[in-house]
């Protein structure tokens, strides 16, 4: 049923049917904006969200219904965000080339998270991660992607994706147990 609905919506978008593209935007923009905010930061995310939907508008003819529209848009958005990081700052390319040479993650025993992890604290700590391991964490732990998919998107091996995820979690643990970000200590 969802597949038929997606194909019908895509078809309406292709023909610029009134309200169709807005329906697509309203359905999917919040998830894609969340993804972009976490990958590139909120300010850039607004511009990127526009680019993502404009790219979708241009490429709608390529959507054949092999996956859901949500999955198709998510892939498009992930690639746009990663391309942005690569082209704009060349940081991700640098990091993906050198992910395995990155300075080691904090020692696993260096502090523990006390109590429940607050979402705001986690968002803040996430923003403090290096772009490479942040991308892996966002795609795996927040968006539920498999390591194989992440490795493909980033152009790294599965093993690098796994090790970066572990590093990201250890860094987050250290950040969340630091006084400035410890749960319940919002300024």
């Amino acid at each position: 049923m969802e597949g038929h609905a997606d194909l019908a919506l895509a078809e309406r978008c292709r023909h610029d049917a009134p309200g169709a593209f807005e329906q697509l935007y309203r359905q999917h923009a919040p998830r894609l904006f969340g993804l972009a905010c976490r990958l590139v930061g909120r300010t850039e995310a607004e511009d990127l969200l526009q680019e993502i939907f404009l790219a979708a508008h241009r490429k709608m003819a390529l959507y054949k219904g092999e996956s859901s529209l949500g999955t198709w848009l998510f892939r498009l958005a992930t690639n746009q965000c990663l391309d942005y990081l690569r082209s704009k700052r060349a940081r991700l390319a640098l990091l993906t080339d050198s992910m395995d040479r990155e300075p080691g993650a904090p020692a696993a025993g260096a502090g523990a998270v006390v109590g429940v992890v607050d979402r705001l604290d986690l968002e803040r700590a996430l923003a403090a991660l290096p772009p490479g391991c942040r991308a892996v964490f966002v795609l795996h732990d927040i968006e539920g992607c498999e390591h194989r998919e992440i490795a493909d998107a980033l152009g790294v091996s599965d093993g690098t994706s796994k090790s970066q995820l572990h590093k990201a979690r250890l860094r987050l643990r250290a950040l969340l147990s630091a006084p400035a970000l410890a749960p319940g200590r919002h300024s």
Partner: protein, 242 residues
């Protein structure tokens, strides 16, 4: 695989359920007698659970307005639809509106491209603009900006019948928010005229205002079905010139 470092390097995958049966048994034996590794595992689970709760984020209203406007411009047949007859007096207003937007952009670019960041490297003082120079350049950029805003606001007011009340209110709120940011940035810059972060903050706020005004233009495009094709063409022409 019995030492803490060995075990800890595998705990993320253990937490994800992605280890073999043999590995899992070895890790579980270690955990039974190691509080530090148990603490780490508990924290990894907490972080995973918290991450799974981070959901969608609602984008600001103006983003859709920009997407809709740009999508319209993107249509291959958009310029072709414009008819000569449709270019009424309203086009003059739209051209003025687009020109004003270009002015705003030029003002911001002018400032960003002509005022270098304060150089902090010792011995390179000649490359460092003085506070007076920065203030002068900033003043010039602000003149461009304010002139454009004044024109834009007048034109938007004369076209206000194109907006429904709810949208007009949304845009008004966006403008108020960005005005507050501009005021705060100006205040910070007044206190420390040489501060690069303060300058960046101000121009980010100015950029946001341009974005909102562009959204206004796009929205009016949407609302004015009769005249919009000419407006699209005019805006596209100005965009190319800029």
């Amino acid at each position: 695989m019995t030492t803490c470092p060995d075990i800890q390097s595998r705990l993320s995958e253990f937490a994800d359920g992605a280890v073999t049966d043999i590995e899992r048994a070895a890790i579980e034996r270690h955990l039974a007698s190691c509080p530090a590794c148990r603490d780490l595992l508990q924290d990894l689970h907490r972080i995973r659970r918290a991450a799974a709760t981070l959901g969608p984020v609602a984008p600001p209203d103006h983003v859709w307005l920009q997407v809709a406007g740009q999508a319209r411009l993107d249509r291959p047949d958009a310029p072709a639809r414009a008819t000569r007859i449709a270019r009424t007096a309203a086009i003059g207003q739209w051209a003025g509106l687009a020109a004003a937007l270009v002015l705003v952009t030029i003002g911001a670019h002018y400032f960003l491209n002509t005022v270098p960041a304060p150089e902090t490297t010792p011995g390179n003082a000649s490359a460092t603009p003085s506070v007076e120079v920065i203030a002068e350049e900033l003043g010039l950029a602000m003149q461009h900006y304010e002139k454009a805003i004044t024109e834009l606001e007048a034109l938007a007011k004369s076209n206000s019948d194109a907006l429904d009340a709810q949208m007009a209110e949304t845009l008004r709120q966006n403008i108020l928010t960005v005005n507050t940011a501009i005021d705060e940035s100006r205040s910070a810059l007044a206190q420390n005229p040489g501060s690069e972060p303060a300058r960046e903050s101000l121009f980010e706020a100015l950029r946001r205002k341009v974005v909102v005004l562009q959204a206004t233009v796009n929205l009016m495009n949407e609302m004015r079905k009769g005249n919009q094709t000419g407006a699209v063409e005019a805006a596209a022409a100005f965009s190319k010139k800029s």
